[in-house]
């Protein structure tokens, strides 16, 4: 039986024509992009590598959140000057230690949150309580306060006392991480958008698309130069650099040397230091000679000059210059492949299972050329006689190995880490990375813990000296880490914008410090 004839050939062109017409009729507008149009075109445009996961103020110790929120939408009581390291007044005008455990803060008058509620001692107490003492599991609690709960009291409208269980000489510095939020903020769950006192407030945030800030008309301080600020995000560094080169953005952050920002590139020292953490409770890494061998095979100078294009400095400690507790005469392991091989051979002769496979774990895109860096190190370790296998992971997978509780039955592994001390005091690094039970430490000794605690209890020059001495001790007696390099960051900046990045810019990019070039 014959099928009826079908006029086929005219159907497809019609469909094609209709599709074309539909596209033209839509004005070439991309679906899901209606939010992206308009708003703030004459303002400041910043392109970030990723969207902030949240703008919740108590999460602002997360880099991707803090870079937008801190000192822009919300403000702390005090802020640390990244150049001098000194604490400067912000929402608190004065502070003093009124007993070994208690600090008293005098608060700024005439400040209101963007929802109209007043900023006073009640609001400050509410915020600290919410961030530090609640069950919200805030990042700032983990990063700055650990297990410590604080007692906060609003003495009167402008006087606040904060009491810690033990004397804490750097409590004001810790509190500089707590961004003040309105008392109308939920205490039972984290919020997406904070109500703060900062020079800007959220105008429009379309997840996945764009974040717009507008200047806070009731801001207590100096009016910022830009009325509107638009953030967008592009994962590819070369696209971010191209956006500034093409005049589509004014500032692009987190660039690599090869991203091509050219004359628009501005390199600046950040607080990040790279290192290998050695899981020293697992053989053969439980033998200090193997950990020393790992240190000997890393040619830090070569890495800094080649892969990091002279934008990094060889490191002998986990904090850079400018942080209290930095040792200026840091002892950097020399590159000595022969000595490394000798140490491995000695260990083998003593029955240490040096042929056991060691995993060398890295996080994709954690810093420019991390893969090449890890490959270089693996090659050197192989020459020294160790059996090392590279494993590159995404952030979540790598964090399982970086943060306690560590996975079980992993075998020995070397973990590439990059640590940025945002706070300006080595205590924040020591607590997490050096204490035997630190959240990001694989092991230690009771004696080293004691030294750390003793140093942290000191103030002034004594504190500086005691902390600085710990790095050498760690390298000689503990050797949990092979420090690699103090890193730098690169941003692309339009010639139309006046801004000088500093060591804190990666974590806290203060919009009020930016202005148009007249």
């Amino acid at each position: 039986m014959l099928s009826p004839p079908i006029r086929r050939s005219r159907g497809l062109p019609k469909v094609a024509g209709l599709l074309g017409l539909a596209l033209v009729a839509s004005g070439c507008t991309v679906a899901n992009s209606e939010y992206v149009t308009g708003g703030g075109a004459d303002g400041l445009r910043i392109v970030l590598p990723q969207e902030p996961p949240t703008l919740e103020a108590c999460q602002s110790s997360l880099t991707a959140t803090g870079v937008v929120v801190r000192s822009n939408i919300t403000e702390p009581l005090l802020e640390r000057d990244p150049d001098s390291g000194e604490l400067e007044p912000l929402l608190a005008t004065e502070w003093e230690q009124t007993s070994p455990e208690t600090w008293t803060f005098k608060l700024r008058e005439g400040v209101t949150f963007t929802d109209g509620t007043p900023f006073d001692a009640e609001a400050a107490a509410f915020t600290i309580d919410r961030a530090v003492n609640s069950d919200l599991a805030c990042e700032v609690e983990g990063y700055v306060f650990g297990d410590t709960d604080l007692e906060v009291e609003a003495v009167d409208e402008t006087t606040l006392t904060v009491t810690s269980p033990e004397p804490d000489p750097i409590l004001p510095l810790r509190l500089s991480f707590v961004e003040m939020v309105s008392t109308k903020t939920s205490t039972t769950e984290k919020v997406r958008e904070p109500i703060g006192t900062g020079p800007y407030r959220v105008a429009d945030w379309q997840a996945g698309q764009r974040l717009s800030l507008e200047s806070n008309p009731g801001y207590w301080g100096e009016v910022p130069a830009y009325k509107n600020v638009n953030y967008v995000w592009r994962a590819e560094g070369s696209v971010r650099a191209a956006m500034v080169a093409n005049g589509e953005a004014d500032i692009a952050t987190s660039l690599a040397p090869e991203d091509g920002a050219g004359e628009l590139a501005v390199a600046y020292a950040n607080n990040e230091t790279t290192a290998l953490r050695m899981q020293a409770d697992q053989p053969p890494l439980d033998d200090i000679r193997i950990r020393q061998a790992v240190n000997y095979v890393i040619d830090r100078k070569l890495l800094a000059e080649t892969l990091f294009e002279k934008l990094a400095q060889p490191a002998g400690e986990l904090i850079p210059d400018g942080i209290v507790g930095y040792e200026p005469d840091e002892q950097i392991w020399p590159y000595d492949a022969a000595r490394a091989k000798q140490l491995v051979d000695e260990a083998r002769a003593d029955g240490v299972p040096v042929d056991t496979e060691i995993r060398l774990i890295g996080r994709n895109a954690q810093f420019p050329r991390i893969t090449e860096t890890i490959e270089v190190i693996q090659g050197e370790l192989a020459k020294a006689g160790l059996n090392v296998k590279i494993e590159m992971m995404d952030t979540n997978a790598q964090l399982e190995y970086q943060i306690r509780p560590f996975p079980k039955d992993t075998g020995p592994y070397l973990l590439m880490i990059m640590h940025g001390n945002q706070a300006g005091d080595a205590a924040f690094t020591l607590d997490q990375y050096m204490l035997a039970e630190g959240y990001q430490s694989s092991w230690g000794t009771a004696e080293f813990d004691q030294k750390i605690r003793a140093a942290e209890a000191l103030v002034g020059q004594e504190r500086q000296d005691a902390m600085a001495a710990l790095w050498q001790y760690e390298q000689e007696e503990i050797t949990q880490y092979a420090y690699i390099a103090h890193m730098s960051a690169i941003m692309a900046k339009s010639p139309n914008v006046s801004y000088r990045p500093n060591s804190a810019s990666g974590d806290e990019m203060r919009l009020a410090e930016m202005s148009p070039v007249s």
Partner: protein
């Protein structure tokens, strides 16, 4: 035809369920998202609260039944990252991907038909060389390279186009579509060329010529119609790839589509959003495959007879 559609729906159901279960189990193999969402100092209680609040404390089978129940009621849960409905996020992103995919395929099909037919009609001509060049390029150059080079040439050096984003009107489309179209255009051109070479040497074409049909009529009304079936099959496969999310292009150009959303969801261990995206694309691909089958039946009487039977 109704019977055919019913049979097709039933046979597609199994792969659809396999995809749903596959993404469910594979996502959970990637680890606990607690480290991404909780501070380093999170207490065991806080970790437990997080796990319970997100239903991760139940056995994997209970989670699976909950998930499948949610699928039936179109409730995929909320995003871990944004707290928004996962289904709403997926549905909002999907049209942007469809726009990109359809625009790309439209250009690829039209371009492939013109170049492929010309190349088959005039072997070793300019069109034939373009055809070879396109197929070689499609096979050997990765998307991201095209995208980055395109940005630097057309946006930065020449200043003709925006680097990325979706606010530049027609200009915003050029680089993403141009990047995406290379592969389907190259592949389709070769398919059309091959099919047309066969068709142009077939007896019915010689018969048409002997009856005095002109070159254009021979190509468009006789050869091309018969060469369309294999091209349609390949175009369908390529379209599936585009609908599945032009991940690289969407990520590089900041295109607000489902590919970018899926990548963000994977990196953020945002299981609910990932599952909603995968289901949406799987259903779309299922519908697209049915449309391809229908198109195939319309083009080929033999297939149509089988369908009718």
């Amino acid at each position: 035809m109704t019977g055919f559609l019913r049979r097709r729906a039933v046979t597609s159901l199994l792969p659809l369920i396999a995809v749903l279960l596959g993404v469910f189990f594979l996502a959970r193999l990637t680890g606990d998202p607690a480290n991404l969402y909780l501070p380093v100092s999170a207490t065991p209680e806080q970790r437990q609260n997080f796990i319970e609040a997100n239903g991760l404390d139940d056995s994997i089978w209970v989670q699976m039944w909950d998930y499948l129940g949610g699928v039936l009621t179109l409730d995929f849960g909320d995003s871990l990252r944004t707290g928004e409905s996962a289904a709403a996020m997926a549905l909002r992103a999907f049209p942007a991907t469809l726009q990109l995919a359809f625009s790309t395929m439209l250009i690829a099909v039209v371009g492939a038909v013109v170049i492929g037919s010309w190349a088959a009609y005039r072997p070793n001509s300019v069109a034939d060389r373009i055809s070879s060049f396109l197929s070689m390029t499609a096979a050997s150059v990765p998307d991201f390279w095209f995208a980055i080079v395109g940005v630097w040439i057309f946006a930065v050096s020449l200043g003709w186009l925006p680097t990325s984003g979706v606010t530049g009107g027609m200009a915003s489309w050029v680089l993403p579509v141009a990047t995406l179209v290379i592969r389907p255009l190259g592949v389709l051109t070769q398919v059309v060329r091959g099919a047309m070479v066969s068709a142009l040497s077939a007896p019915y074409v010689r018969l048409a010529r002997s009856k005095g049909a002109g070159d254009l009529r021979v190509v468009t009304h006789h050869a091309l119609r018969n060469a369309a079936a294999p091209a349609l099959t390949v175009a369908g496969d390529l379209m599936v790839g585009l609908i599945n999310g032009a991940v690289v292009v969407e990520t590089i150009f900041g295109w607000p589509g489902i590919g970018k959303l899926m990548i963000d969801s994977i990196l953020g261990r945002d299981f609910a959003v990932l599952q909603a995206c995968v289901l949406l694309t799987a259903v779309s691909i299922f519908v697209l495959n049915i449309l391809i089958d229908i198109g195939y039946a319309l083009l080929d009487a033999r297939v149509r007879e089988k369908v009718s039977a």
